[in-house]
C-alpha cells in the first residue's frame, strides 16, 4: 500500500510539474499540450471508439507476430544448441540478424509485401525470432549436463529429456529471451506502423503519426501514453507472474 501511494504521489507530482511548466511558458503549448487537453482527447477518442480500435489492431498484429516468432524461435534455438552444423550456419545468421535493428526490415517488407498486413507481420516476426532463438540456444547451453544424465538413468529417452528436462531447465533464460523478443517486437511494430499506412487497420502508430500530421499534440501525447501503458501492462501481466514463479522455484532474485 505504501509503495502504491508513493507511486501515485510521484505521478501526480509529475503531471503537476508538466501543467505548471505550461502555465509559466504558454508559448510552448504548441509543442506540449496541457495534461487536461490530453485527458480530454483520451476520453473522447475512447468514447468514439478510435483509440480502442487502434489498440486492438496493434495488439492483434503484435500478438500474431510475437507468437509466430516464439513458436519458430524455440525449436530453432534448441537445434542450434544441439547440432554443430546448425550452430555454424543458422546460429551465425541469427546472431547477425539480431544485431540488425528491426526498423531496418521495414523498407524491405514494404517492397516485398506492399502496404499489407503481411508486411507488418513480417517486421514483427523478424524483430522477435532472432532474439528468442539466441536466448533459447543460450538457455539450453547453460543446462548442467548432469540433469540429462540423471534423467537418462531414470529411463528418459532423448525426446522426453528435451521436453521435460532441457526445456524447463533452460526456462529462466528462455523467459528473459521471450521478454527481450517482446520488447523488440513492440518497437519494430511501432516503427512499422508509423512508416506504413495500411487501409485494413489503423494501429496506434498510425494514430500517433496522424496526430503529427494534424499537429494535434494532445493526440500525439495521448497515444504515446497509451503505448507506454500497454508496454507496462504487458510486462506486468505477461512476464511478471512467470518471473516470480521462476524466482520462487529456483530461489533466485530477491523476494
Amino acid at each position: 500500500m505504501k509503495r502504491f501511494l508513493s507511486a501515485v504521489l510521484f505521478f501526480v507530482a509529475l503531471i503537476a510539474v508538466w501543467h505548471f511548466f505550461l502555465v509559466l511558458r504558454p508559448d510552448k503549448a504548441l509543442l506540449l499540450s496541457d495534461p487536461l487537453a490530453v485527458w480530454e482527447y483520451l476520453v473522447s477518442a475512447t468514447a468514439d471508439g478510435t483509440l480502442p480500435a487502434a489498440a486492438w489492431v496493434t495488439m492483434r498484429r503484435l500478438l500474431a507476430g510475437y507468437f509466430i516468432g516464439i513458436i519458430a524461435g524455440l525449436p530453432l534455438g534448441m537445434l542450434i544448441a544441439r547440432f554443430k552444423l546448425m550452430e555454424d550456419t543458422l546460429g551465425v545468421l541469427a546472431l547477425g540478424l539480431q544485431t540488425l535493428p528491426s526498423v531496418c526490415w521495414v523498407p524491405l517488407a514494404i517492397i516485398a509485401f506492399g502496404y499489407t498486413e503481411a508486411a507488418m507481420l513480417f517486421v514483427v516476426v523478424m524483430g522477435t525470432l532472432w532474439s528468442v532463438m539466441i536466448a533459447t540456444e543460450n538457455g539450453v547451453r547453460n543446462v548442467p549436463p548432469i540433469y540429462s544424465r540423471a534423467a537418462r538413468t531414470m529411463g528418459a529417452r532423448p525426446f522426453y529429456t528435451l521436453l521435460y528436462v532441457t526445456l524447463p531447465a533452460s526456462a529462466p533464460f528462455v523467459v528473459s529471451g521471450m521478454k527481450q523478443g517482446w520488447a523488440f517486437a513492440w518497437r519494430s511494430l511501432m516503427a512499422a506502423e508509423i512508416y506504413v499506412t495500411i487501409l485494413t487497420g489503423l494501429g496506434l502508430g498510425q494514430l500517433l503519426n496522424y496526430g503529427r500530421d494534424l499537429h494535434a499534440m494532445d493526440q500525439v501525447i495521448g497515444v504515446m501514453l497509451i503505448i507506454i501503458v500497454i508496454g507496462l501492462l504487458a510486462d506486468k501481466i505477461l512476464f511478471s507472474p512467470w518471473e516470480r514463479m521462476l524466482h520462487r522455484r529456483w530461489g533466485t532474485g530477491k523476494e
Binding site: 548442467p144 548432469i146 540433469y147 544424465r149 540423471a150 534423467a151 537418462r152 538413468t153 531414470m154 529411463g155 528418459a156 522426453y160 521435460y164 528436462v165 524447463p168 531447465a169 526456462a171 520462487r248 522455484r249 529456483w250 530461489g251
Partner: protein, 267 residues
C-alpha cells in the same frame, strides 16, 4: 498394482565386470582410466570403490550405469551385457542433480512417471513411501533451493530408490556434506540397504566412509586405473564410523593406499 506389490517387485542383481579398459583422450594425450579391471559383485552386496582421484572408480560406476562404455571388456548384469542406462540401475550423483523446476515430490515422481503399469495415485503412494523412508515426508511440497545439503541428498536417495532399482550406484554422494549430516546418512543408508535389499556400489575417496558402509572395500590405484587389493569388512552392523574396530580397518587400508600412491610417485 498395490504399493506392497510394487515394493516387492525387484530383487538385487549380480554384476560381473570383466577385463574392462577405458581410455580418455585429452589435450595432453590419452589417459588409461581403467586397465583390464575385473570385479565380481554378488546379489545384495555392498561394495565400496576407494582410491585417489583419477583412479577410474567413477568411470567404472558410469560404465555400470550405462552412461559410458568400455573400450574393451564387458559388464554384465545377471549375465546380460549393459548397453544403456536403465531403471534397474539408479545413480546417485555427487551433486544432488535434483531438478530445481520441480518440488520435492515432483523430483521423486520423475523417475516413476517413466515406469509403466502404475497409476498416478500409486506413483504418489510410492514416492511418499520413499520420502518417509528418508525422513522427509513433511517436505513434499518444498522447493529444492529451500533444502539443506543433507536434505537434498536424502531427496536424491529417495528419487534413486523410487523406481525400485536392483542396483544402486552412488558416486561420492556425501562428499559435499558436513560431518554430522554425513554420519546420519551413514546410518540411513545401512538401514535402507538392509530393508530394501539392493546391490550397492559406492564410490568414495574416504576410506573410513568405505569401511563404515561396505561389505567389501576395493582399492584402486591411478595411472592406469587398476584394482590393487580387496578387503572384507567383517564388522557387525549397524556400524558407527567413530568405533575403534572400524578405525583399525581404515588405518590398514589407508596404509595400503599410501603405499600404492608413493610407489607410483617414485617410479
Amino acid at each position: 498394482m498395490t504399493l506392497s506389490e510394487e515394493l516387492q517387485a525387484a530383487s538385487p542383481a549380480k554384476l560381473s565386470i570383466e577385463e574392462v579398459s577405458k581410455n580418455f583422450r585429452t589435450e595432453r594425450g590419452s589417459v588409461l582410466a581403467l586397465d583390464k579391471v575385473s570385479l565380481q559383485i554378488a546379489e545384495g552386496d555392498f561394495v565400496c570403490l576407494v582410491g585417489p582421484s583419477g583412479c577410474g572408480k567413477s568411470t567404472l560406476l558410469n560404465i555400470i550405469a550405462g552412461l559410458e562404455f568400455p573400450d574393451e571388456g564387458i559388464v554384465l548384469m545377471d549375465g546380460n551385457e549393459i548397453r544403456e542406462p536403465g531403471r534397474d540401475r539408479m545413480v546417485m550423483f555427487q551433486e544432488s542433480a535434483l531438478f530445481p523446476w520441480l518440488n520435492v515430490l515432483g523430483n521423486v515422481l520423475f523417475g516413476l512417471k517413466l515406469k509403466p503399469n502404475l497409476t498416478y495415485s500409486e506413483r504418489k503412494d510410492v514416492a511418499r513411501f520413499y520420502l518417509k523412508l528418508v525422513g522427509l515426508e513433511k517436505f513434499t511440497t518444498a522447493n529444492i533451493h529451500e533444502l539443506s545439503g543433507g536434505m537434498k541428498q536424502r531427496v536424491a536417495l529417495a528419487r534413486a530408490l523410487a523406481p525400485n532399482p536392483r542396483v544402486l550406484l552412488m558416486d561420492e554422494p556425501f562428499s559435499a556434506l558436513d560431518a554430522l549430516t554425513r554420519e546420519q546418512l551413514y546410518g540411513d543408508i545401512q538401514k535402507i540397504w538392509a530393508e530394501r535389499k539392493k546391490t550397492i556400489v559406492f564410490v568414495t575417496h574416504n576410506v573410513r566412509e568405505a569401511v563404515c558402509l561396505g561389505n567389501r572395500v576395493v582399492l584402486f590405484s591411478p595411472h592406469p586405473g587398476r584394482i590393487r587389493e580387496e578387503f572384507e569388512i567383517d564388522l557387525p552392523r549397524p556400524r558407527d564410523i567413530n568405533s575403534v574396530e572400524l578405525a583399525s580397518y581404515s588405518t590398514r587400508i589407508t596404509r595400503a593406499l599410501k603405499g600404492y600412491v608413493h610407489a607410483e610417485e617414485s617410479e
